[in-house]
Amino acid sequence: MVRLLVGAILALAGWAQWQAGAPRIGCVLDPNGGLRPLWGIAGNFVAGERLAEGVISAACRDGRAVVKLDGELLLVDERGVVSGRWQAPPGPALFAHDAAGRPALVYFPEEGLLCRLRGEGLEPLRSFEDEVAAIAWLGQDKALRAVRRHGGIELVEFAPHDPASDVPVQTLPWDGPVLALEGGRLLLGDRSQLLLRQADGSFRSYPMPALVTGLRTLGDGWVEVELAARPQRIAVRIAGEEVALFALPEVVP
């Protein structure tokens, strides 16, 4: 087996492809609803020119962005070009990406509507009446939603196509901000700490310098954390179980 691979590498190394480019962390929102690419590495960030305006919600993975405007949903590719545009319900949106990093599910809280995002557009799947705070794609037609209920958060696994498939899996005693990460993980803010829920249901906590008031996806493994009374924007990198904090540059509109 090893010999096969060795032979393959030996034979094909000359055909290998190389590409050097700019390191992309993801996207960052400016105070006026402008979406900008965020270039850089840990501790060395540069915000780029606007990709879109009037952005209500956005999520970036692998250099691509799914962007919710007031009445539209956009896909923006690595070059900053709009590669897809669809009419969408008003208000914000929650996104879940599949294992390959593609946006798979979109949830519109104002309509309570869950849709599948395919190349040809939005496919309505089902609706929820509860207050959904985050959604995650677990793979194999299984997803997870975090629902605010009775001052806590209930995690419910479900099949996107099947309204009768809901299975509550865990109730969390926190009601702070919550964000779905890749791989079915969840990030929660509870007072002055972050709680990372792994896909297996285990938790780790990380102290923060102030009260956590908001969480927003920046890119793969990167989250923006809003802290009370802290005008400095904070970026958190989550790698495995390691969490590191950095200051984000102020993005001037």
Binding site: M1, V2, R3, L4, L5, V6, G7, A8, I9, L10, A11, L12, A13, W15, A16, Q17, W18, Q19, A20, G21, A22, P23, R24, W39, G40, I41, A42, G43, N44, F45, V46, G221, P231, Q232, R233, A239, F246, A247, L248, P249, E250, V251, V252
Partner: protein, 452 residues
């Protein structure tokens, strides 16, 4: 002529009318004109006006005042021609030598008038310092000079009764926000002959700028002036955490003051960067983060030992990913302080790695920076699950031209992302990990093993 003029209550002096100006009013001069009274320590000034009431020019050839203590304080050059209807002003001053009645003859061309005035006994006001005393007349200025805000400057004033009769002090006050009567100043009292009393007037400004006030003694005013200066701002020191950062770091910057500030103030912190090689472009990541840019304003409050950046004690900056020299310059008042960071050339720094295995290939992606922009050789070494290096061993690739092309087009300093894809036709699952070695002009750096 004189009698005729007296009869009409308007004196005409060789075809000139003479009047006394009192504020906004003009009073015709009589043969004997009483100029009123003054304190024996003060001068008395009277403004006269000579007018030509005719249609023809008149020449003023003679103008004089004769009498003890009297003088002309202001007078036109003679001869002076006055056109018809024109007028000219002059001032007669009485400087009394002491209490008493004073008189003088004022002559205008060929005619004269008698001036009378009285000097009354009053408390003499002295300004005293180490060199002696200076007698003050009403309207004189007491200058306190320049004083820092918050600092108190005092002037010593002495009241004296040099006369034979006793005198009352009915009024002693100071007006003007920055000026005060110091404790111990005399209150209403009588001064016997030869008695004197000293007190202090202080100038303690609370804000910079010219300040005025007034010392009033029995209705006589003495003007108080002073200029308040902001205290010098303390010398700032630039404090970095970490103290000697290299490239690719976020640094907390504080401004510490050499001593607590005695006044509030504002300063500026400026960031400048000089790349190690002349042809390298600027690095946009080298900046303060909030507010974003290379110039940050800071403020200090009175009593503070550190500056504030918009309410925060520190500001965060990035050192970027280009080797060179970074200079921070803090300006506060007259002080200019600098801190220089040498961003030494480094081996390639790898920040993140990612490997993806598919059925027909292996993808290795990494991101990092090369602050020398000189990546040349990259070596990939694949490992099996047993930890042995897979044949054919390390795969070395010369990527110098690839990186040169990228850095020439990049405006992101030395940051880069590298993606390498290895197509395979066998079972790619046999590859358990890979190590990547990148070489630049400084040295080679090798990642830890990255598992698939």
């Amino acid at each position: 002529m004189l009698l005729l003029a007296a009869a009409t209550s308007v004196l005409v002096w060789g075809q000139l009318q003479l009047s006394l100006i009192e504020g906004a009013t003009e009073r015709a001069v009589a043969e004997v004109t009483d100029l009123g009274a003054t304190d024996a320590s003060d001068a008395l000034e009277a403004r006269f006006r000579a007018r030509n009431p005719t249609a023809n020019p008149v020449v003023l050839r003679t103008l004089s005042v004769a009498g003890a203590g009297f003088s002309l304080a202001s007078a036109p050059a003679l001869p002076a021609s006055l056109a018809g209807g024109a007028s000219i002003d002059f001032i007669v001053r009485l400087t009394p030598a002491g209490p008493g009645v004073y008189s003088a003859v004022l002559t205008v061309n060929a005619a004269s008038v008698l001036l009378r005035a009285r000097a009354v006994a009053g408390l003499v006001v002295w300004l005293e310092d180490n060199r002696g005393r200076v007698r003050l007349s009403a309207g004189d200025k007491v200058d306190f000079g320049q004083a820092e805000v918050g600092v108190r400057v005092a002037r010593r004033v002495v009241l004296e009764n040099p006369h034979r009769e006793s005198l009352a002090l009915d009024q002693l006050s100071v007006e003007g926000g920055a000026f005060r009567l110091a404790d111990g100043a005399p209150s209403s009292q009588r001064f016997e002959s030869g008695q004197e009393a000293a007190f202090e007037v202080t100038f303690a400004p609370q804000s910079p700028g010219a300040q005025t006030g007034r010392l009033v003694v029995n209705g006589r005013s003495f003007f108080l002036t002073g200029v308040a200066m902001a205290p010098p701002l303390p010398r700032p020191a630039i404090v970095l955490d970490p103290a000697t950062p290299g490239s690719g770091r976020q640094v907390r910057v504080r401004i510490r003051l050499a001593e607590p500030a005695r006044t509030a103030g504002e300063g500026e912190l400026r960031l400048a960067f000089e790349p190690a090689a002349p042809g390298w472009p600027d690095d946009p990541a080298i900046a303060f983060l909030a507010p974003a840019g290379r110039v940050a304003r800071f403020s200090i409050e009175a009593g503070a030992s550190e500056a504030g950046f918009g309410g925060r004690e520190e500001i965060v900056m990035q050192t970027g990913t280009t080797a060179g020299r970074l200079t921070l310059t803090a300006r506060l008042g007259e002080h200019v302080e600098q801190a220089t960071l040498a961003l030494a050339p480094l081996p390639v720094q790898v920040d993140s790695t990612r490997v993806v295995r598919s059925s027909n290939g292996l993808e290795v992606a990494l991101a990092g920076f090369d602050n020398t922009r000189s990546v040349s050789r990259v070596v990939f070494t694949f490992y099996g699950a047993d930890g042995r290096v897979l044949e054919p061993g390390p795969i070395a690739v010369d990527l110098a031209s690839e990186f040169r092309r990228y850095f020439e087009s990049s405006a992101l300093g030395g940051m880069f992302a590298l993606r390498a894809v290895f197509p395979v036709t066998g079972d790619a699952g046999a590859a358990a990990g890979v190590e990547v070695e990148l070489t630049n002009s400084v040295a080679a750096t090798r990642t830890s093993r990255i598992g698939f």
